[in-house]
Subunit: 475 residues, 2 copies
């Protein structure tokens, strides 16, 4: 059998699928336990997702917010890293299936994360990229910078350029980060370099289906965030449902129920989240967002040796409210299951061999601890010195919240080297308004952008310019 | 006419095609002259090509060696930048043709640079990428890192991994930089992180068609470079002609005329150079490498208002030897034509309008200066503290040459911010042996690499392992 070499190890083997915040924290905590750990991911790098929007808006380079998984874990002798695409699980035989090999486990931690949801309209994806991976961020950066370049070219060669509208769909944390940062760079960093474009023709629209921005935050912080966005020049439209995305335009139903069409040089998607399709391969019915329901100890019903953590897990807090898909939840869950696995293995007089574990039924104690999320607070940044933060009952906004955000995010950036460099970059661009990573790589094609931007074949919904849209927005 | 807005300017217009070292230096020098300058490039960024190999080998991020052209030139009010693909020229009507518009000029500077040549075998290109652009560097980085990841996966899942051979074709400056750096990272940076791979199974081959490495350098420096490469573990094969590249292998005729086949996880191309195809659109017969012959003043025969500079121009020095395609030549040529254009325009009592220049025949003086290249020396780096340098009659090798190389390259990096950050990166990785930019982005496909690496359908040429190859190499 091809896995003989691997299963020859006498220590119980824990396989972790996914090296996001959940998987990585589980691996690090397990490194201290008498187990052999295998981390499988289809990327070679861990991505610090909270700063992805900085790559998308040309403030940071990919290498500054992502680090090779094996380099993060290289200090731990009992942890190995495999680059592979997990295709499924055989829970009865306790193996993880990949295209190349089957990886056996004694314990399995599935931390495969989440991706975008287009509400059943996957065809919008190429027109409105979301922001989950380094590749996504580079694609968004390419489109944003290209829109400015193409507009500059049109004006410089005497053609009337189309309105330079950037539309962001969804006003959660990612949506407001993108909107705020785009507003800043179009006003400062880029306005200086582009001579022909009239900065007044650049508009940033933030469309949110719900009644307020940052729906997961307390209402006073939503109000504050919306004010800060307005100050940056972002045109916020709440209670606004996107009904269609086409090359060069977005259709939506506005708060007053009018159907509108908005020309858009770039459309970015920050609205829906769908859990990894791997969730469906675990044999239990997932919820609407594809998340897997778990027991209070985060294990899968009927499989005490399988845990699901992070964005993929549907976990409720003490009040019955679903835990949000944020890094601290995944990190705490990763450490929780690592500790639980370690304790179980150590509680047995002699460490069980892989074989005895695999064949000897269920060696775990009947009563396991329950996972409790310790909410240390939430932070969302809007732009330069603009943010909102909640620490328990304390709600803060503006510069102080931004400083807290900056401090916490740089502190948690994995790898010391990155931390120092990112801090230098940040200090530099704060002082100079410069964006250091403004490279367009890849093709110079932008969907819906042609020399004359011809009208679409369906002129049914009213065409609006920025002023009209603004007037139609809820007050 | 759509260009009316543009040609309405009364100052003579200089159009520069290409924002490499030549074009950028011409633009900067022209910024002080009474002209209007338009720089056209199909990328939005200038690439500092001498450090591209550092991006390819994961030492630097793209943003650290490339900067937006319009940001480099943003201080010059009379210089505009256009992102556009030049498709041709109408020399009679003095316009540059792009897909979107025609750009009229009074003076034209063509600095479109060079790309790779595969000696008539363009089908090798996807199998053996070259190193001229940021995209090339990212593709090479992807392949190199992926080769290690896939080998690790094979060993970890119990399969016998293929030999991990990296083959670099061509031992000019780029070839030895790639070979030396790959040898270092496979021995230090990566060996630490990959547990399953046996470092002894990693081999770096450098294949050179000519009799010695660095053919453009004095012979003693070639000898020194080859010694330094050996010390790093690179297996150098001179007088070795590549006859075929296929997925997963390279065929070549060795120095002893034997035909050989070498398995290769990654093949990199650093052999031939072909001038930009735009050279052929200038209406004069190009040389074998596609370079355009020019007059002593770098102008095109019959068109005193058109200049060709940089890698695209075929220019001989006083001894009749062709000038090399290196940055200092292009930079000096750019400044030379800028000064010449400036003087001609100022020497006319009143600055000529665009119209009078375009219609009034040839207003230039009959005698123009001749371009002379001032050779300040050449430098090539091989690895950590390994390099060769020539300054006139002074030839140096090793650590001192490397320090000179480091100092000069960081000094010339365009943009102060990059310079500081690159220096910090360099210091950091010198001390720690770490490679900071080890991200694999894009697909995880590697040509010729399958789970079992099956033998090819043509086992005609003898298969060699690393030892045999080494034995067959010229002493």
């Amino acid at each position: 059998m091809s896995n003989s070499k691997v299963t020859g190890d006498s220590k119980p083997r824990v396989v972790i699928v996914g090296a996001g915040f959940g998987g990585l924290n589980a691996a690090r905590a397990l490194a201290r336990e008498p187990v052999r750990v295998t981390v499988i991911d289809r990327k070679n790098h861990h991505t610090f997702q909270p700063l992805l929007y900085q790559v998308a808006t040309a403030g940071l380079s990919p290498g500054e917010i992502a680090a090779p998984i094996r380099s993060i874990l290289s200090g731990h002798k009992n942890v190995e890293v495999l680059l592979a695409d997990v295709t499924g699980f055989d829970l009865d035989h306790r193996v993880v299936q990949t295209a190349e090999a089957e990886i056996p486990y004694d314990y399995l931690v599935v931390a495969a994360g989440a991706s975008h949801a287009y509400f059943g309209h996957d065809e919008w994806q190429p027109l409105a990229p979301g922001l989950k991976t380094i590749e996504d961020a580079l694609e968004i950066r390419r489109r944003v910078l290209l829109a400015f370049e193409l507009a500059e070219r049109q004006v410089a060669t005497g053609e009337p350029g189309p309105p330079l509208n950037f539309v962001i769909v969804g006003a959660g944390a990612t949506g407001i980060e993108l909107a705020g940062t785009l507003a800043e760079i179009s006003r400062h960093a880029l306005a200086h370099d582009f001579r022909a474009i009239d900065p007044a023709r650049t508009h940033i629209f933030l469309l949110e289906g719900g009644p307020r921005v940052l729906p997961a935050y307390p209402e006073d912080l939503s109000v504050s965030a919306q004010k800060q966005l307005h100050r940056l020049g972002v045109e916020v439209h709440t209670s606004t449902m996107v009904t269609r995305v086409e090359p060069g335009a977005v259709h939506f139903r506005a708060a007053d129920s009018r159907d509108m069409r908005l020309e858009a040089a770039v459309v970015l998607w920050a609205a829906g989240v769908a859990a990894s399709p791997l969730g469906k391969k675990l044999g239990v019915p997932a919820d609407r967002a594809g998340r897997v329901p778990v027991q209070p100890d985060l294990s899968l019903a009927g499989h005490t040796e399988v845990f699901v953590i992070g964005d993929l897990a549907a976990v409720k807090d003490g009040q019955g409210k679903m835990l949000p898909g944020v890094a601290p939840v995944a990190m705490q869950q990763g450490r929780f299951v690592a500790k639980l696995i370690g304790q179980e293995i150590k509680s047995q007089a002699a460490p069980p061999s892989s074989r005895s574990l695999r064949e000897g039924g269920n060696p775990r104690p009947a009563v396991r601890p329950t996972f409790h999320y310790w909410d240390k607070g939430s932070l969302a940044t809007i732009g330069r010195a603009a943010a909102v933060a909640q620490f328990g009952k304390i709600h803060i906004s503006g510069f102080v919240a931004w400083l807290a955000w900056l401090f916490i995010h740089i502190l948690f950036l994995i790898g010391f080297r990155n931390r120092v460099l990112v801090f230098i970059q940040w200090a530099w661009s704060y002082v100079t308004y410069e964006r250091g990573a403004r490279l367009i790589t890849g093709s110079t094609y932008l969907p819906g952008w042609t020399a004359a931007n011809p009208p679409t074949d369906e002129p049914s919904s009213p065409e609006l310019n920025a002023q009209e849209i603004h007037a139609a927005a809820p007050k």
